[in-house]
Amino acid sequence: MNDAFPAPGFDIARIRADFPILSQTVRGKPLVFLDSAASAQKPRVVIDAMVNCMETQYANVHRGLHWMSERTTDAYESTRDVVAALLNANDRTEIVFTRNSTEAINLVAHSYGRGIMKPGEVVLISEMEHHANIVPWQMLRDSHGIEMRVAAVTETGELDMEDVAAKLSDNKVGLVAITHMSNVFGTYVPVERLIRLAHEHGAKVLLDGSQAVVHRRVDVQALGCDFYVFTGHKLYGPTGIGVLWARHELLEAMPPFMGGGDMIDSVTFERSTWAHVPHKFEAGTPAIIEAIGLKAAIGYVQEIGYEALSAHEAALTDHALSQLATVEGLRVIGQAQDRGGVVSFTLKGAHAHDVATLLDRQGIAIRAGHHCAEPLMRRLGLDSTARASFGVYTSHEEIDALTTGLNRVREFFV
């Protein structure tokens, strides 16, 4: 069964032991959690970092002159260094903390979109965006006279680069906002090419890295993009914390998004002036405990190393694709060349929700629905798919369990 071997030195048993939740049972069956693309489970080190903060070193940040506040500020701010290193940002001040990817994109849509872009300019997205990378641009379109264009996706679930080029050709696109990795197909978008092309046409590029950063090393300087966003809870971190990276000069030029404490330089009733970047974009008490948790999560991923992680996930994905191919009536949606550990599929004669419920009954958690990508579903002529997605803790045995589970579903249902 284990024809695809895990990467050498990748001790899956030890890694699974780092995640307390994985030893839970669900409906009397051992948990097989294949919904990591929706949100990942948390390793012990993340839980411990948060507990440790709350038990030994907690106070509000930036404002206190006392020991607890200074130490908490250090811990919070050092997360910025860790994130800057993770993305290879040029400067720690380029890291802005948000609640999640969604807020990061909304921040750009509000601040860059309304503050810098001019009515008539175009935002180019793609057919395979998550709602988080569609709706903010629609709202910008409707309030600020921005045009929204949508680049096509091919039958294999890849970005149609010819269509991208065509839609850039009149040089009206000010911003290309595209996912780095599809949460439905697992497709990696050829972002280097995309960025080169966009820049040639004078457009800035925002990458939605919500999925990509979980699976691959991201180097924003090497990529050459202008904005990059991700969300902590998919990267084994807590909820309530996300990241916007942007080039320093862009952040400098952008007006603030929200107003309040911590983001000001000085306030009078007549007029306020803004704090330096990145504080200008962080109004109010930030997600302190969550930032500290995110730092631990990034540390965890880096200790394993993206090489080992990517290799493990590539092996898992190969194994999954070959196993799923043995299930009668199962069709994998999306056949990109360059893909990661997210596999969408349909099962003939069984609706995705019924598949999900019947798998859940066997302790297997997958996602079913439109995956917050309704327009993509419509493009595919589907109303929903089932989706299994993998994390660092996913084992080959779990994929085998999924396959067995699906065969039982088929027998029961079809």
Binding site: R27, A350, H351, A352, H353, D354, T357, L358, D360, R361, Q362, A368, G369, H370, E374, M377, D383, S384, R408, V409, E411, F412, F413
Partner: protein, 153 residues
Amino acid sequence: MTTLAEDVGDLYQAVILDHGRKPRHAGRLASFDTSAKGDNPMCGDRVEVFVKYGADDTIGEAGFEARGCAISIASADLMAEVVVGRKITDTRAMFETFRQMARTGECPACDDAMDRLRPLAGVHDYPSRVKCATLPWHALLAALDGEGRTSSE
């Protein structure tokens, strides 16, 4: 080890599998007095319900078009079956009873009229699936209210 059929028997009873697979009332009515669409935004289920009124404030004919899971199609089909010939006010009351049953699994108010719907009581164990069962009813009520569109939440 229990079989999958034993494990999910409460939810996927034979009548549900049967009506889910071979709905009797699927299809747009050739002529109808009112209709409404229902969406479940969380999962993408969609249903459209068509109603032709009968005499004395009753429902004369009912039909539906749906894309969705076995639960929602079976629920739509059984709904269409039980509401035909029924007073509109009774239909509304029936939905309340049904919704209660779908949420709690209990049905103290159930009478004979509810018998055909009882197999759907199993959804209460699967909170995210309750909406699948209630969506067609939401659409039916929207049609009766002349609202045209609803969404289950």
